[in-house]
């Protein structure tokens, strides 16, 4: 039998076997798993995805581990207890029939925001979830992009697709940066993740375009437990864009994503995020809990990983994109804008773990706090004994709007090598009345003036974003602070 046919037969048989194991829940055709988390649900997800046995086992190990863990309590965030048995862990992507047929059927309020952000029509359709067959333009754009990528050997697909098409790569790298036992939320993700993105850049290839999740947003509903894995082989380069400036709503309140990056010798990964999940109403009700684990491994010498993030959404953000600087002369960067308005809570920062010689890291964090929000920078710079001549520069700036908000900076520094050169700067300032008055005297409205001043404050980080993101991100900074004055 040809291998492909054999595979199909195997899968069908396995599915039949699996099916027997569901004691209470037998319908593999079902679009939605019932509420709650147990081994059956995990088997169901794995079966739905037609995963190989090793992956199911990996999920199961994570699940067993998770059962013994408890939620972290050290972050400066507060929320009512989450009942993990009261959540759905699998729902099939919405079918075309359930989607709006055109933008005419989409909430006009949402469209107005898209317009303010300057998002092109074709992308608006994708973002608003308009039925796939209606979105001709963007689909064909995506197809051309895919061809271009195939030419140079870049793999860019959904995670599920990668599990089918490139199981050896997934098996080799999955969990190699964020092990399934890493932390409560990453472990939960490892047990129940439903989809995400996979990127592989072959040796010596400079990825010819910015990879953006826009282009495959239709192909998979990534859901609340998203998993991303990016591998950059020796001498390669990739710039990856995640998220979008448009406000995103989701029925699921809890989001626990995992992102793993691997940069081999002399490779560079630039990972940019714009996060604008629904923050909840002015009282913070109904917003997304965003508990994310992002980590990059500079595994090869002279490799480089840069994280750039613009965090404006979510009711709670718990997120510390980090770099393991393992290779000698490797470089880690973290550029962050975190905006908290109304009742939003942010506890975010980075970890720079210096293991190799001559490793260097740079951290620029711009925290903006308005309303009755709470915004905490939490960062760790750790220099291991063998990390000869490591360097770090950290700058944390907080900008306050109004007087009911709170901002905190919590830097941790562990240096086990005396040759390390570490610099830390921190400032706290307010949007001054004088600046606002000056802008308004020139005819700039109050909200625009706030947006302008805040954009100035964030300049250094905004400049790190890829061009096509930067303009939208600037608009977003303004929009997310609407209503923060007066």
């Amino acid at each position: 039998m040809p291998p492909l046919a054999q595979q199909t037969v195997d899968t069908v048989e396995r599915l039949r076997d699996e099916r027997k194991k569901y004691d209470f829940f037998t319908d593999i055709e079902s679009d939605k798993a019932p509420k709650g988390l147990n081994e059956d649900i995990i088997r169901f997800i794995s079966a739905k995805k037609q995963e190989p046995e090793w992956l199911l086992e990996w999920r199961m190990r994570a699940y067993q581990r998770w059962l013994k863990m408890s939620e972290p309590d050290w972050a400066r965030v507060a929320h009512p207890p989450i009942d993990y048995q009261d959540l759905y862990y699998y729902a099939a992507p919405k079918s075309n029939a359930d989607r709006p047929k055109s933008l005419d059927e989409v909430d006009p309020e949402l469209l107005r925001t898209y317009e303010k952000l300057g998002i092109p029509l074709a992308e608006q359709e994708i973002l608003a979830g308009v039925a796939v067959d209606a979105v001709f333009d963007s689909v064909s754009v995506a197809t051309t992009f895919k061809e271009k990528l195939r030419e140079v050997g870049v793999i860019f697909s959904s995670f599920s697709e990668a599990v089918q098409e490139h199981p050896e790569l997934v098996r080799r790298y999955l969990g190699s940066v964020v092990p399934y036992s890493d932390n409560f939320f990453a472990t939960l993700n490892s047990a129940v993740f439903t989809d995400g993105s996979f990127v592989y850049i072959p040796e010596g290839v400079r990825c010819p375009m910015e990879l953006s999740t826009y282009f495959r947003i239709n192909e998979a509903n990534t859901g609340q437990f998203e998993r991303t894995l990016i591998i950059a082989e020796k001498d390669s380069y990739v710039s990856y864009l995640e998220g979008c400036t448009a406000p995103q709503r989701d029925e699921n309140q809890l989001h626990a994503a995992v992102v793993e990056l691997v940069a081999l010798e002399n490779a560079e990964i630039k990972y940019s995020t714009v996060q604008n999940w629904y923050p909840g109403d002015a009282e913070g009700k109904g917003g997304i809990y965003n508990f994310v684990t992002k980590r990059g491994d500079c595994r090869g010498d002279r490799s480089k990983i840069s994280w750039t993030q613009v965090e404006t959404g979510s009711a709670i953000t718990w997120k510390y994109p980090s770099c393991i600087l393992r290779g000698d002369d490797s470089v880690g960067e973290f550029y962050s804008i975190a905006i908290a308005n109304n009742r939003q809570q942010i506890d975010s920062g980075t970890k720079m773990l210096h293991l190799g010689k001559n490793t260097s890291s740079r951290v620029i964090s711009k925290g903006i706090s308005a309303g009755r929000s709470s915004n905490c920078y939490r960062g760790l710079v750790s220099i291991h004994p063998k990390a000869e001549s490591a360097r770090n520069f950290t700058q944390c700036d907080s900008l306050l709007i109004g007087d009911a908000t709170s901002a905190h900076t919590t830097p941790y520094i562990e240096s086990k090598n005396p040759s390390a050169l570490l610099e830390h700067e921190a400032t706290t300032s307010r949007v001054s009345e004088e600046q606002l008055f000056y802008c308004r005297q020139r005819g700039i409205g109050e909200e625009e003036a706030v947006a302008l001043i805040v954009n100035g404050f964030c300049r250094e980080v905004l400049q790190k974003l890829p061009m096509e993101f930067a303009v939208e991100a600037q608009q977003l900074v303004g929009i997310s602070l609407e209503g923060s004055i007066g």
Binding site: Q435, Y438, R440, R442, G443, G445, L452, I453, G456
Partner: protein
């Protein structure tokens, strides 16, 4: 056109934190006129300028201000600005991260948006700014620097005048725009101010020195002390101040 002045200040009293600063200011400025206010330090000149622009923190305890016949009390800061009221600041504030050119663009477009116009074409805008900058000997490299950040005293004043020329206000209130300028800069700035003079516009120059007024001849000069205008007259008043200070006016007021 009716005979109502462009700006009419009537018996204006204002306080800060219960402390009286303006104690009955009366002033009328017609279109086409240039007025100057002189007065000792702390007499309330900047306060008057701020109140005209609508800055927070002042209690108007009596009197009123009419601009184009409308009561300014009903207009917020940006509305006044968009109606054509410009304030050249005595101490312009810096905004980190905002290039001067971006700030100018933002200001011009905000005003255009308010009157229902499209954004200015980027190329056209740049051309206009460049030509004004060269007219004011404002180095082009300054346009890329963050607005007012680290600008020298003279550079800040030139930047204010540049903004004024770009925004073409109906009423420009210039608070000590001549202070801290060297002789050449003063001439350049004065020429800039003079170039905006027209039958449609009016200006209020707040100054300590007669120098500026030799370049920009005022129609009226007012002497302000302790929150009110003691005397008004022609340009010769400025010469009097230059020669003999304010003692004479204050004694006359007490007598």
């Amino acid at each position: 056109m009716n005979a109502a002045p462009l700006l009419q200040i009537e018996n204006l009293h204002a306080e800060i934190d219960g402390k009286a600063i303006l104690r009955g200011v009366d002033l009328a400025i017609e279109r086409g006129q240039v007025h100057a206010i002189m007065g000792p330090n702390g007499s309330g000149k900047s306060t008057l300028a701020y109140i005209l622009a609508g800055k927070d923190g002042y209690d108007i305890t009596s009197g009123r201000i009419l601009f184009k016949g409308e009561d300014l009390a009903d207009m917020d800061v940006e509305t006044r600005a968009r109606a054509g009221l410009f304030l050249g600041f005595q101490y312009p504030v810096a905004i980190e991260g905002i290039a001067t050119i971006s700030f100018l663009k933002e200001a011009v477009n905000a005003r255009r948006a308010a009157s229902g116009k499209d954004k200015l074409d980027a190329v056209e805008f740049l051309k206009q700014v460049r030509s004004l900058a060269s007219q004011l000997s404002f180095d082009e490299s300054m346009l890329k620097r963050y607005i007012n950040l680290g600008f020298s005293g003279g550079e800040k004043k030139r930047a204010e005048i540049l903004q004024m020329l770009l925004l073409e206000p109906v009423l420009a209130v210039l608070d000590e725009t001549d202070s801290g300028l060297d002789v050449d800069a003063l001439k350049t700035v004065a020429t800039g101010i003079e170039s905006l003079r027209s039958p449609e516009r009016a200006m209020l120059l707040i100054t300590h020195y007669q120098r500026l007024l030799q370049h920009v001849r005022p129609d009226r000069v007012h002497i302000m002390a302790k929150g009110s205008i003691l005397r008004s007259g022609g340009p010769e008043l400025a010469q009097k101040v230059e020669d003999g200070g304010y003692a004479e006016f204050q004694q006359a007021a007490q007598a």
